[in-house]
């Protein structure tokens, strides 16, 4: 099996002495949808920041198949939308390309495409404060997509949304992932969400953050509302929940 990304014995110790992660081994293959679940403070966000290069590991190595990622190879959807309040939704999506030196005219088709993908083609001219929370989250997803990254990192992107919107965005995300052949690392607190979306669920335990379980999820497409109520789904959710309970007890 080829890998896109391999973490070997990765640990992170912050300047204040907090050991957030220790001995993380994780290999991610191209096209995988990996969910990270675990109790609050177990280092999930820290792990994504290390993968993105925003922070450096204190120990261990992070290796990329085919060399270090370039300026546009990583899409990161942060826990909150982090849109620039002075820029329209269009210009917010344009930002990664602008920073990459792409002219506005050259970027326009890609921005429009990204906005269509998240269902916001008509809202391009709005300012962030005129958009709803769900719209803002979708803009930040479009912004992460617009560079056509190799890997997409999502940090609890739907945590603040109501269940209906959340289910809809779940399905949108699945559709995009299937159509676009991405690799996804997805942090969530919801066992149901992780099982519904992923090809693999990684369970982490705190103090310091370690991987305690790594469960493949094998469902046939399509994943849809029927799946959520099927018995297979329930079984897997129970398994992951049991892993999670053990991780929280640890």
């Amino acid at each position: 099996m080829s890998t896109l990304l391999r973490l070997d014995g990765v640990g992170k110790r912050f300047a204040n002495g907090t050991q957030a992660l220790d001995g993380i081994d994780l290999a991610v293959a191209p096209g995988e949808f990996v969910s990270l679940v675990g109790p609050s403070g177990c280092g999930k966000s820290t792990l994504l920041r290390l993968v993105s290069g925003l922070d450096n590991p204190s120990t261990g190595t992070i290796a990329w198949d085919g060399g270090e990622p370039g300026q546009s190879d990583i899409g990161f959807v942060f826990q909150d939308a982090t849109l620039l309040p002075w820029a329209t939704l269009f210009d917010n999506v344009y930002l990664p390309l602008k920073l990459g030196g792409v002219s506005r005219a050259a970027a326009r088709p890609r921005i429009e495409e990204a906005l269509v993908l998240v269902g916001l083609a008509d809202a391009a001219k709005l300012l962030p404060r005129e958009a709803s929370g769900g719209m803002r989250m979708r803009v930040s997803i479009a912004r992460a997509l617009v560079t056509r990254p190799k890997i997409l990192l999502l940090d609890e992107p739907f945590a603040a949304l109501d269940e209906i919107t959340r289910f809809k965005l779940n399905d949108d995300l699945l559709r995009l992932w299937r159509d676009q052949n991405w690799t996804v690392l997805f942090v969530t607190h919801s066992v149901f969400e992780s099982v519904y979306l992923s090809t693999r669920v990684v369970v982490m335990s705190p103090g310091p953050g370690r991987i305690t379980a790594d469960a493949p999820i094998r469902f046939m497409d399509p994943r849809n509302a029927d799946l959520r109520t099927s018995s297979d789904f329930a079984t897997l959710c129970r398994e992951v929940s049991a892993h999670l309970a053990r991780a929280m007890a640890a």
């Binding site: 993105s52 942060f78 982090t82 620039l84 002075w86 920073l99 962030p128 404060r129």
Partner: protein, 264 residues
């Protein structure tokens, strides 16, 4: 309807207060027979403003010219200085104390020196007003440039923004509301600085500003004229404040909380 009513209250309430105040003033002056060289009534002041208006207007323009030039140069240089300070902690640490010293030194105490050093009258007044006006812009803009949202900072790092891109597309836009607030404070201070400098310079002739007219009227016991000049000065201050407020709201409309009209 609520909006119209609110605006009516906003305008009408202060007007009623003004009317009561002016009526009371006029009544006391007449009832007590106070001579105009002690306290002129508002009607006399209005008449004086009418008759002396043209000559005072000239002086108002002189003062305003100093004020606006000082505000403009304080805005440009203040912004440039703030950007320079924001380039490194070292630059900021080494220059900031001197800016504070300049700010806390009362302008009246250094104005005589400046007027001696700088030969040109207009230029010396300009320097005085500028000294008073530029600090709030530097201080506010520096604060704004350093108030980057952590998430935005991460975003720019993720996409490997250059120093220049970070400044242009993140730090300056973040600092804009702070900068504009600084300019608004400086608008009032520039006028005060110009007036103080004129008082100290005390130059007569055709090129003298409103402050000198006030001094002159005081010496000659033309108290109604003094009040008329004072009134013009306050009006100029209010006008500057209103215009800068309007510009600020126009620029920030839509995205910044302070300028969102339906937000309160």
């Amino acid at each position: 309807m609520n909006r119209a009513r609110e605006m009516f209250v906003d305008v009408a309430a202060p007007c009623v207060v003004a009317l009561l105040f002016l009526t009371g003033w006029e009544w006391i002056v007449r009832a007590q027979n106070i001579p105009p060289y002690i306290l002129p009534g508002p009607i006399l002041i209005a008449q004086t403003l009418w008759t002396d208006g043209p000559s005072l207007m000239n002086s108002l323009w002189v003062t305003l010219r100093t004020t606006l030039a000082a505000l403009a140069s304080a805005t440009v240089l203040g912004l440039a200085l703030a950007v320079a300070l924001a380039q490194s902690r070292l630059i900021e640490r080494s220059l900031y104390p001197y800016l504070v010293i300049l700010q806390v030194t009362p302008i009246v105490s250094i104005a005589p020196l400046i007027i001696i050093w700088v030969n040109d009258v207009f230029l010396s007044l300009l320097v005085c007003a500028w000294l008073v006006a530029f600090f709030p812009i530097v201080a506010n803009t520096t604060l704004g440039l350093n108030s980057i949202d952590r998430g935005h900072g991460d975003l720019f790092r993720l996409y490997r923004a250059s120093r220049w891109q970070r400044l242009m597309h993140l730090r300056l836009p973040t600092a804009l509301p702070y900068f504009l607030a600084g300019v608004r404070i400086s608008g009032g201070l520039a006028l005060i600085g110009a007036v103080v400098a004129e008082f100290v310079a005390g130059s007569g002739g055709a090129e003298s500003g409103l402050a000198f007219r006030i001094l002159e009227a005081g010496y000659r016991l033309q108290i109604p004229r003094l009040f008329a000049a004072l009134l013009l000065l306050s009006l100029a201050g209010i006008l500057i404040h209103a215009v800068l407020g309007f510009i600020t709201r126009r620029i920030l409309r839509g995205w910044h909380e302070s300028a969102v009209s339906d937000g309160r």
